[in-house]
């Protein structure tokens, strides 16, 4: 009998120890917040959570570089409202639980003055809800999918020219304006099962189908797909005149290589993201001629702030910025413009409200051009269409910005 009693006592003791540990643990985690007092000398602390490890880490690191470049350029120019800006970046491990807890921590415990958005649609929606419920302005560089704007968020702004479904608008117009006999009659679509990637392909599909261009294949593959043999076989077998890939980087490369292996030769080929990456040409064996891609950013754009951005970014990181970096930088520019206009940067509800209201009614000059938003936070500009012409990627649409003429039909790859 005495033995069982002893075990029971250990149980009780353990329970108490456990709870003591809870308290100690939370005590340790809590520690001191950073930006509570808002005197003029204190830096403006901006909280960000980014996927620096895990599945979205590659673009996540790009966004991080963009934010860092922004902070450095702002500080070199004397800061915001005369105060230095300071980034507090946490890693969310590409995990939705973490991203929410990160923003809870940034807003609740660290009492940051402002927040910037994370990367990837999957993480933007949960984190935007945290910001929304604490009444914080939420400008984000990466949630382009339609779902982001259907949640009823009032504080959210997407800092890029256009939402995912509008990326191909110029291309759709161009195709539908072609003479009936000339234009592609059938299209095969393949999109990654990701709200952003699928959004780009679906946007183009809707517009082309409305214009009478037939869909002959419509494939969706999970993000972890590494072997594209079967998908490529179905596309090749459909003998579509045009192939559209709702892709990110590596899946786009794999899909193109698999299509090349099958010797499928479409008259037009458009892929999102992948063709704009610097390593793309080498990755598919330099058979790039004629491949199309939408882009929201070009290093060559002559918006005044872009020159400074490209120059200083290249100085800081030793290479020119890409789209992820540019969108992050744009986020910084948008928030900065609101802060300058509202003359405040703190968690104070009045201040955050002023920031949101200012952005609702105004246009901001950014490295991707002037941006303004509708009442859901959707930007109202459009993406350019680039094409690989003569061994380099050049803007072909819209006419006003074009650097080269669109090649059609596409040469063999």
């Amino acid at each position: 009998m005495s033995r069982t009693h002893r075990t029971r006592r250990t149980h009780g003791g353990i329970a108490a120890g456990t709870l003591a540990l809870v308290l100690v643990t939370s005590g340790c985690i809590s520690g001191s917040g950073s930006g509570s007092g808002d005197s003029a000398d204190d830096p403006i602390v901006i909280g960000v959570s980014l996927p620096l490890t895990g599945d979205f880490s590659e673009p996540g690191k790009g966004v991080e570089r963009g934010y860092k470049a922004w902070a450095k350029i702002v500080n070199d120019n004397g800061g915001l409202l005369g105060r230095k800006v300071e980034l507090k970046i946490l890693d969310d491990q590409s995990n939705a639980d973490r991203v929410v807890s990160d923003y809870e921590q940034l807003i609740g415990r660290d009492e940051v003055d402002l927040v910037f958005g994370p990367f990837s649609t999957r993480l933007v929606v949960p984190s935007a809800r945290v910001a929304e419920e604490y009444g914080m302005l939420f400008v984000e560089p990466a949630g382009a999918a339609p779902e982001v704007f259907q949640q009823g968020f009032k504080n959210l702004f997407y800092a890029a020219p256009a939402v995912a479904n509008d990326h191909y608008n110029h291309l759709a117009e161009y195709i539908l304006a072609m003479p009936e006999g000339d234009r592609p009659k059938t299209v095969a679509y393949a999109a990654m099962d990701d709200p952003f990637a699928q959004g780009t392909a679906n946007g183009l599909k809707d517009k082309l189908e409305k214009g009478g261009v037939k869909t002959v294949a419509d494939e969706v593959y999970p993000p972890n797909t590494t072997d594209f043999g079967n998908i490529a076989a179905k596309i090749a077998d459909s003998k579509a005149d045009m192939v559209v890939g709702g892709t990110q980087y590596q899946d786009g490369v794999n899909l193109i290589v698999a299509l090349q292996q099958l010797d499928y030769q479409p008259k037009m080929a458009a892929f999102s993201t992948a063709p704009t990456e610097p390593e793309f040409a080498k990755a598919i064996g330099n058979k790039t001629e004629g491949i199309l891609a939408p882009t929201g950013y070009t290093q060559k754009a002559d918006y005044p702030s872009n020159k400074e951005f490209v120059e200083k970014y290249t100085e800081q990181f030793g290479k020119a910025p890409e789209e992820d970096e540019a969108n992050a930088y744009t986020t910084g520019q948008v928030v900065a413009a609101a802060v300058e206009a509202a003359k405040c940067a703190s968690q104070d509800p009045d201040c955050q409200k002023k920031l949101v209201e200012w952005l609702r009614g105004n246009t901001v000059e950014t490295v991707v051009g002037p941006l303004k938003w509708d009442d859901k936070g959707r930007p109202q500009s459009a993406h350019m269409i680039q094409q690989w012409v003569g061994g380099q990627i050049q803007i072909v649409l819209p006419d006003a910005q074009k650097e080269a003429d669109l090649i059609y039909p596409k040469p063999k790859w």
């Binding site: 490890t53 880490s57 590659e58 590494t226 072997d227 980087y249 899946d251 698999a258 292996q261």
Partner: protein, 295 residues
């Protein structure tokens, strides 16, 4: 209705994929045979080998196939060491369950270290012949896929010859079939088990190199492989190498054919449907038998 040429193309792709599955499942079967161990880390080692091939190619420009001369012996040794130092420490009574957790932890460590060393970026070897293909009765076969299949087939054949024709193979089979009896016959079953484990890991080296030729790799990719492989060894009958090979070919082919009508994601479920069906109808697997029944 898909066209006949597309069906044929899919069959070819299914065979090519099934070959790789067969080799990897053979490795898993070996571990289970010699030790009653479900080796979750098998596919993590697979990815590790693929990374080594990719890294060697990037840094010193050697053809990934040449890395086999290093990775195969290395993995064999790692397998022996792992069996000797880690798995023999576990209590025999709970070996099967605990070995799952132990190898799971090894898989996590490998994934974490790969991510630490090479970041989460997807990688792919760029070979001059990446997009080359040959015509085969109207179907197109990518050269890299053919090489990968060839490697898998050769390795499987080698394994078969080793098991059937050599003294070591006899000892290994005896250890798998009846360890106590094998011990009575003077076989050092502990040493043989270690070598069996090494052999299993060597198949991961071959498989990883084959994989690196034609697909993207990233640290968490192993989760994508372990599920289908485990389903294959259960369907084939735990512990039966030919069973695993047949199940691998069948399921690989089915997956490829199902993709004609279904999306990629739905087609992947075939492995788990087959797994649950097997357990409901014939828990010992279709080609194995005695071993599986006892465990």
């Amino acid at each position: 209705m898909p066209s006949a040429s597309l069906v044929f193309q899919s069959v070819v792709l299914g065979v090519l994929l099934g070959g790789l599955y067969a080799l990897l499942a053979a490795g898993l079967t070996l571990y289970f045979g010699v030790m009653r161990v479900v080796m979750i880390a098998h596919s993590a080692f697979l990815i590790l080998a693929a990374y080594l091939a990719w890294y060697a190619h990037r840094e010193i420009g050697v053809d990934p196939l040449l890395t086999l001369f290093v990775t195969v012996p290395l993995f064999f040794a790692a397998g022996v060491v792992m069996q000797r130092l880690l798995l023999t420490r576990l209590r025999p009574a709970t070996l099967t369950m605990m070995s799952v957790l132990l190898t799971f932890s090894v898989a996590l460590v490998i994934e974490g270290l790969l991510g630490y060393a090479f970041s989460g970026t997807q990688r792919r070897i760029r070979l001059g012949y990446s997009s080359a293909s040959i015509e085969f009765f109207g179907a197109r076969i990518a050269v890299v896929k053919l090489i990968a299949f060839g490697m898998a087939a050769l390795a499987l054949l080698g394994l078969y010859v080793l098991m059937k024709r050599s003294r070591f193979g006899q000892a290994l089979r005896a250890t798998i079939q009846h360890p106590d009896a094998a011990r009575l016959l003077g076989i050092d079953t502990d040493r043989i088990a270690g070598y069996g484990f090494g052999l299993g890991l060597a198949t991961a080296a071959v498989g990883g190199t084959a994989l690196s030729l034609d697909t993207t790799i990233y640290p968490s990719l192993h989760w994508h492989w372990i599920g289908p492989l485990m389903a294959i060894i259960v369907v084939g009958g735990l512990g039966s190498v030919p069973g695993a090979a047949i199940a691998a070919m069948t399921l690989g082919m089915l997956q490829s054919l199902l993709q004609l009508e279904l999306s990629t994601t739905w087609a992947q479920t075939v492995f788990y449907v087959a797994l649950f069906a097997t357990l409901a109808v014939r828990p010992q697997g279709f080609f194995g038998g005695r071993l599986a029944q006892r465990f």
